[in-house]
């Protein structure tokens, strides 16, 4: 068995979740002629959901789609869960990298639903609820995540 080449990249912009995420301190492995992130994507997904729930800017269309798919919900199921029509969800997701047009109360509900699915401690849920009392900016804010914090 040959020893694989490994390195740590200070910054990798990853598009695999449907929107750009800047990953920092990414362990990389050289496999079959290409460098690829050597990360547990399940853990990365969970960490990203946690970051999105507290994101200091409104959610983009791609981020809403990511949240929906992480919950394994169809457009119809997601719409029903949040009391809107499925064309409304399609419209949000079409915003892609821009902030969606949804009301803040709906977005807050979505963010709290994310936290409830992550099975955070009740104290943590309350802390985030209080944090979401102030509405974040509509300006686009790219996400960044330090991979060393992802187990």
């Amino acid at each position: 068995m040959t020893k694989m080449k490994r390195k740590t990249s200070a910054r990798v912009v990853y598009y695999g979740f449907g929107f750009p995420v800047t990953l920092r301190n990414v362990p990389m492995v050289h496999v079959r002629g290409a460098w690829t992130p050597d990360v547990n994507y399940e853990h990365l997904q969970q960490a990203l959901l946690r970051v999105l729930a507290e994101k200091p800017a409104r959610l983009s269309g791609g981020e809403v789609r990511f949240i929906r798919l992480a919950a394994a919900m169809t457009l119809q199921e997601f719409a029903k869960r949040f009391g809107v029509t499925h064309p409304a969800v399609m419209k949000w997701e079409r915003a892609r990298t821009r902030a969606t047009s949804m009301g803040w109360s709906t977005e807050k509900d979505i963010r709290l639903d994310v936290i409830s699915r992550l099975k955070e401690q009740p104290g943590q849920f309350f802390k985030i609820y209080r944090k979401l009392e102030s509405q974040p900016t509509r300006r686009a804010a790219p996400l960044a995540l330090d991979v060393t914090s992802v187990a």
Binding site: M1, T2, K3, M4, F17, V29, V31, R32, D38, Q45, F66, R68, L69, A70, A72, M73, T74, L75
Partner: protein
Amino acid sequence: MDIKAVIGSGWHEKAKDRFRAEHSAWSYAIRGKTVDKRALRVVISFEPDEDGELLLLVTAVDLDA
């Protein structure tokens, strides 16, 4: 997430399995539907590292594109 949905509920598409001589490894095809009901083929292959652990390599092909 689409890949996870297909691996969890798809079927083994044996006719698309291939032996990759350049890597001395088999790749296996799984076909299924995403959460949004799009047809997806997921091709998986394994690469052993120096510790004998297997790295999972995944390629996805959107069949509705």
